[in-house]
Symmetry: C2
Subunit: 188 residues, 2 copies
Amino acid sequence: MKKTMDRRQRKSREAIFKAFIALLSEKNVNKITVEDIITRADVGRATFYAHFETKDFLLKELCEELFCHIFDSVDNNHSHRHIFECDAPDSVFLHLFTHLKKNDNNILELLSCQNNDLFLQYFKSGLYRLIESQHQLYKYSEKAKLPTDFWTNHIASTFVETVRWWINEKLQKSPEEINDYFLRAINA
Amino acid sequence: MKKTMDRRQRKSREAIFKAFIALLSEKNVNKITVEDIITRADVGRATFYAHFETKDFLLKELCEELFCHIFDSVDNNHSHRHIFECDAPDSVFLHLFTHLKKNDNNILELLSCQNNDLFLQYFKSGLYRLIESQHQLYKYSEKAKLPTDFWTNHIASTFVETVRWWINEKLQKSPEEINDYFLRAINA
DNA sequence: ATAATACTGAATAGAGTGTTCGATAGCATA
DNA sequence: TATGCTATCGAACACTCTATTCAGTATTAT
């Protein structure tokens, strides 16, 4: 989203996103029509198509906006730690759990709605890239003689499944506890 | 599927399944139309709706037909082992990997096509029930103080992800090797 | 104030869904 | 082989949804 965006554009775009998110927690993504969205968002039909080529593009852009924040914040945090030489190997995940619980952008609504698989998959692909860069995680995989990409995928999916379980439990556990579960599961 | 099914019904049903499977490996499930299916299957429109209420039902019944075999075979094998008191704790998974590689019903085509998430998720839900009944798997979870349902989900998803990785690698590894990877990953 | 541009609202063509029905052909049974 | 039963055909139908268009209106940046 460009900074120099017409206020009207921003408003329409935001209204569409907001309506779409609300609808996503109400019904299956395949059953949501453009009519539903524009009625809820209170914008004209032509406006919708001026912003998004199709519903699929809307979904894709929504995912990008949602997850760019969370991964950016990790990247910043990680580079800080690098600068200060404060090496806490697995705290990246604690950082992610904490960030999730803060629930910026109502990300939790989407990760717990009936369409959550959609978002968990998208989240996982972002995670995969992040994990690849965390070399200290691979000590165990070497010990267990597991291929690198197998291990990367294993960690990413275990993280996502931990989040899924956590959300199902209504986030009763603290980020520290759930991070502990996660680390025990991957036995790091 | 009832045994006493009219030959015409069987033929139509099979033709529809076959056409659907072929289409699934060509394009996204959402883009497949009833028109596509009946043209490929060479049956009338009314025939399709006589067999399946909607496309979603077709998909559901396809999944059931596909996975019932594989889980039934495990159940039989498991109860045999029970009778003969031959207790090989984790061989259920080796049995599953072996069964998958045999590729009955072209199950692998579906697990490796672009719609594989659909089938892997369905496969996982079947697995979940199976794992719940395998009590010997929970020794480690008790040691690591992890909740039962967390652990069940962890094993199920790790299995599914192992299968996913295996298929991506074109099934080059033997069932024994891949079972080994899986057991190392869950550290059982 | 002005020019640029985003939005509206209604109309439109086209694709896909799910149903209907009389006619036809295949099936099980006797 | 003749019988009734039932699955299929194929075409037509109403319906919903998609995606585009365009003239008129409102808002914005400068």
